[in-house]
Amino acid sequence: MQRKKKKLIALWLTLASLLLVLAGCGDDLASQDVLTRVKASNEISWGVKSDTRLFGLMSIKTGKVEGFDVDIATAVSKEIFGDQVQVNIVPVTSNTRMSLLKNGNVDALASTLTITPERKKEVLFSEVYFNAGQALMVKKGSQIKSVKDLTKGTKVIGLQGSNSVENVKKAAPEAKILQLPDAAQAFAALKSGQGDAMTSDNAILYGLAADDSDYEIVGGTFTKEPYGLGINLGQEKFHQAVDQALQTIEADGTYAKIVKKWFGKIDGFDGGVVK
């Protein structure tokens, strides 16, 4: 009996120390100063979405993640660490990105991350690099120019169970709302005239409109959900450097070039922070 107890205690002690060591490891990597480490290793990792059109999408041709977020991450890194720095793009999802950042698997996030008060307690946000928000898409030539035109008798297509449906109910209480299961199906329904407009996040709508020049985004955004780059708490120096780099690429035209590359063909685009 006594021996069994001792064994059990020993087991618990081992587990506890193992946990401490592991926790220590994670802590180490995430709390090391990013600026110093990257200057030494000349390598920086960014977490980017790999399933979001125009922002970060795995290209079947090249096997690489390509998009606006990737180019912004690369431009910012080069601005801080010089053109020779190696930028690693790590695919993340909406569910994994926060923990990957906190564990130090990535140094920063450029992953369509909306700046919210709750998230501000968890990460440091850069300045806004993309004006995301809910928008309307219509067929070119439509009478609907903004959310105000969604009057009685008009039909809006939204995605089942999304916040955007609740938002449009508030912004246009008289319009009838048709909710479809996913973005592709909703766009197909819009094309067949099942609704007068489609509403969703502007980033999603841009992705759809990029495919079909008969459709445009109108009236700007009627909610504000801006994207910021995410940096670990405690990385104040790196945070400052990122903000400064953003300002520089906005001033020297690099930012505008990247916007033009990804959103140049989209009518009604207003997501850029530089007008």
Partner: protein
């Protein structure tokens, strides 16, 4: 589950109404179309047989969702503007009618060929013999399988949920997405579907019993 029923009663009733009307319309439509195509399939005229077979084989072998989406997405682009309810009900009608055609055809073929021959030799035309002698006997035989088709039809009407048809299933999905009470909502909706399909089953069983008592040709 009770709170789901009480809190969202108006939505559920609205959905129930849509589901019922879509089912009734499709039931009537598919019965008529189904019988017509069954007659085509067994017709002595080859062109009619070919048309009937093509129709049945196409719509019986395509998933209902695909047929319904075709009417929701494709038809409005090229032919006429129809909403989710109409598209769904048309899809449901056509899909079910193919199965009913097969069921009725089997019923007609199970009626002894002598019945047709006897009627024809008494001076009836083909259509008269079919309408007065063969079909009445065939319908009695196919009541149980037809009942199955009708119950399936009511359940299949949930396809409207994918076309923003505002039916019971659509309302259920919206309730789930706003309350996140998945189990309770789908349980409640399952009960509401039972409320529609059980009486239908009993009605068909009643008809089956009543008509089975009568002699074949009364």
């Amino acid at each position: 589950m009770i709170t789901i029923l009480t809190d969202h009663w108006a939505d559920l009733v609205a959905g129930l109404r849509i589901t019922l009307s879509a089912s009734l319309l499709a039931l009537l439509g598919s019965l008529i179309i189904g019988v017509i195509f069954a007659l085509f399939v067994i017709s002595p005229l080859k062109p009619l047989r070919v048309i009937g077979n093509i129709y049945v084989e196409i719509f019986r072998n395509i998933p209902l969702l695909v047929v319904a989406l075709f009417f929701y997405i494709v038809i409005p682009q090229f032919v006429v503007q129809i909403d989710g309810f109409t598209a769904g009900t048309i899809g449901l009608t056509i899909y079910t009618s193919a199965f009913i055609a097969e069921t009725v055809r089997a019923g007609i073929e199970s009626v002894d060929i002598g019945q047709m021959e006897a009627a024809r030799s008494n001076g009836m035309t083909y259509l008269q013999a079919m309408g007065y002698i063969v079909l009445p006997q065939a319908i009695k035989i196919v009541i149980p399988p037809l009942g199955n088709q009708f119950v399936n039809l009511v359940k299949n009407s949930s396809v409207l949920a994918f076309l923003a048809g505002f039916d019971l299933m659509y309302q259920a999905n919206l309730i789930v997405s706003s309350t996140l009470k998945t189990t309770d909502t789908y349980l409640a909706v399952g009960l509401l579907y039972l409320l529609m399909t059980m009486p239908l089953s009993y009605l068909m069983r009643y008809l089956e019993k009543r008509w089975a008592k009568q002699p074949a040709n009364d």
